[in-house]
């Protein structure tokens, strides 16, 4: 169009763009949590890990000038928090959900405390790859400025799917999650498997956090996560512990987050609170549709404290 507007096309484009822009943290946290939960443990602390990851990535990127160092620092921070969770949970009679909630508060609190001096400075951001070169519509070009972390996340989902099914360590994680007795009988330490699975989960969540602060929205502040970590943990449950479903669910959540603002921008203004709540309504709807009182959730690892 002559005035540079694309009219109602904004809505599908924004949902598509939103799926790409907003979904990455969901994707990394949910894939990480998928690994952790498949090993038989729930780490609810990933909200805190996400925020700590975002803060440490921003801090390291600001201090070193290299955003990639920031991403690595976020991953290491996440892995350390994961190790902390797994370490506490390996003590006898410790409830992993309670530890998770404690670590969620600890992670966010620590990130806010350490992140105070980082709110004002501007850190180096992760670069975007321009996949919209073929289009002369600036809106499409903007929507297709994709960060490589998103591509890694997308590639990671089928890799994990394949790894759970066909590799040795995939089988080990699943064994620890389905029957810790069987794993023990095979001579493996369940605690060691879960420690590694939780650390990998934390590592991925930390990287998800680095996306928030270093790419989109692209700065550190205390409202940055607004509950995305905890949403992603819930997302694993309705993705049925399946990495591929985690991918689709993350994309759907990203798109849903863009729906409210996009509809308002084209003039659909009534009930925007409802559209803003779209991701949560989506969660509820899927949970209601898929749950059944007659059986446990299909795909749920048998060792999880919520299914046991």
């Amino acid at each position: 169009m002559a005035d540079g507007s694309i009219g109602l096309w904004t809505v599908p484009l924004a949902v598509f763009g939103g799926a790409i822009r907003v979904s990455t943290p969901f994707l990394f946290v949910s894939l990480g949590e998928c690994i952790t939960e498949r090993s038989g443990r729930i780490n609810l602390g990933l909200e805190g890990t996400l925020v700590m990851g975002a803060m440490s990535a921003y801090g390291i990127s600001y201090l070193s000038g290299s955003p990639w160092l920031g991403v690595i620092a976020a991953g290491i921070t996440g892995a350390l928090l994961g190790a902390l969770h797994a370490g506490i949970c390996s003590l006898p009679r410790v409830n992993d959900i309670a530890v998770g909630i404690a670590l969620m508060l600890f992670g966010t609190g620590l990130a806010f405390y350490l992140g105070k001096p980082l709110i004002e400075p501007t850190a180096a951001r992760l670069p975007a790859i321009d996949f919209g070169w073929w289009s002369d519509v600036p809106q499409v070009r903007a929507a297709l400025r994709i960060n490589v972390l998103f591509l890694i996340g997308i590639a990671l989902a089928p890799v994990l799917y394949w790894a759970f099914r066909t590799t040795r360590w995939g089988l080990l994680i699943r064994t620890a999650g389905e029957s810790s007795d069987a794993a023990r009988a095979m001579g493996y330490s369940v605690l060691a498997i879960r420690l590694r699975a939780t650390m990998i989960g934390g590592f991925l969540s930390g990287i998800g956090g680095s996306f928030l602060s270093l790419f989109y929205p692209g700065s550190w502040n205390e409202g940055l996560s607004s509950g995305q970590g905890i949403t992603a943990v819930a997302l694993v449950i309705f993705a049925r512990w399946d990495p591929m479903l985690c991918l689709w669910a993350s994309l759907a959540f990203g798109g849903a987050a863009a729906l409210g603002p996009a509809l308002q921008s084209v003039g659909v203004t009534s009930g925007y609170h409802l559209f803003n709540a779209a991701p949560y309504i989506l969660t509820l709807a899927i949970m209601i549709i898929t749950c059944s009182p007659k059986r446990t959730l299909t795909g749920a690892p048998a060792e999880l404290s919520i299914t046991r």
């Binding site: 904004t10 924004a14 909200e47 809106q139 502040n221 921008s265 803003n276």
Partner: protein
Amino acid sequence: MEFGRISRRHLLQGGAALTLGSAFGAGGARAADTTIGFIYVGSRDDYGYNQAHAQGAAALKKIAGLKVVEEEKVPETDAVEKTIESMINLDGASLLFPTSFGYYNPHMIKMAKKFPKLRFEHCGGLWSDTDPKNAGSYFGYIDEAQYISGIVAGYTSKSGKIGFVAAKPIPQVLRNINAFALGAKLANPKTTTQVIFTGDWSMPVKEAEATNSLIDQGVDVLTCHVDGPKTMVENAARRGAMVCGYHVNQSPLAPKAYLTGAEWNWEALYPKFVKMIAAGEAIPNFYRGGLKEGVVKTSPYGEAVSAEARKHADEIKAKFLSTEGYSIFKGGLMNNKGKTVIAAGTDRGQKDPELEKMDYLVKGVLGATS
């Protein structure tokens, strides 16, 4: 999620209360100096609303004999009452600034009744005769600065479409949107202002999405009314759009894209309040001021602002500063549903309390309040 309730301060205060309480008795912790308490709803370095107040508090810290205590991230619930009580009982605060809109009624009113000898100053509240005399509300007519920003935005926009990322449709926000839109129309009568409400004061992902959606619609100048404008400013500048700031000067974040902005000037007002108290003068319970009174100010113009825009904006600014003043909201004003909201011939001056109950968007604004 709100984790602010269990802050480090609370813990420290708990410990201090035990030791001091036993050593000196209840009043022992009070110093002879005046202690002033500041309460913020968010983080005090958010490049926005709370930072503006914290800059005001910082100005007080420089004055000898004053002690400033601060607590941030206090929700607009009875949590603020607890904070006020602890500031009074533990820190000996005698003047309190609960700075967030939702603190006023019923929380601060309740505290003002409970501590009739202390002074409470609320930012944004509507003090009325039935409220306690030791409570007061102050606010700035920041819509004057928004009007100036709107003029600059109207001249700068090539598409004639301006975007406004707003938090909630409450009167203060609506007044800013309307003033901004009217200023833009003064510069270019064909300008439309598209508003998107994100639903809350700090929603970075929604704010970024709103910014992108607006730019996708052809908007090329944006402003906002959220607690932390950093997200909007940075994301808009990345997409090549121009921005007008809010709360504090955000030009360091986007030096090329920053046109001007509406800023609070609390670092001038708070020391003034303290001087009034020290001199024994009463602060009016209902205190308001705009550009003329120095309660608000505009950011210096950015390099992208044309000479024409500067001239027009400076002219209007001079009118605000003059003794006659200037009215933004004048008769014959229609809302964006086609209804007349200010009848022809009526001139709502800036001090008119009707304006603080604004519940409409003026003609030229695309969007709805509900």
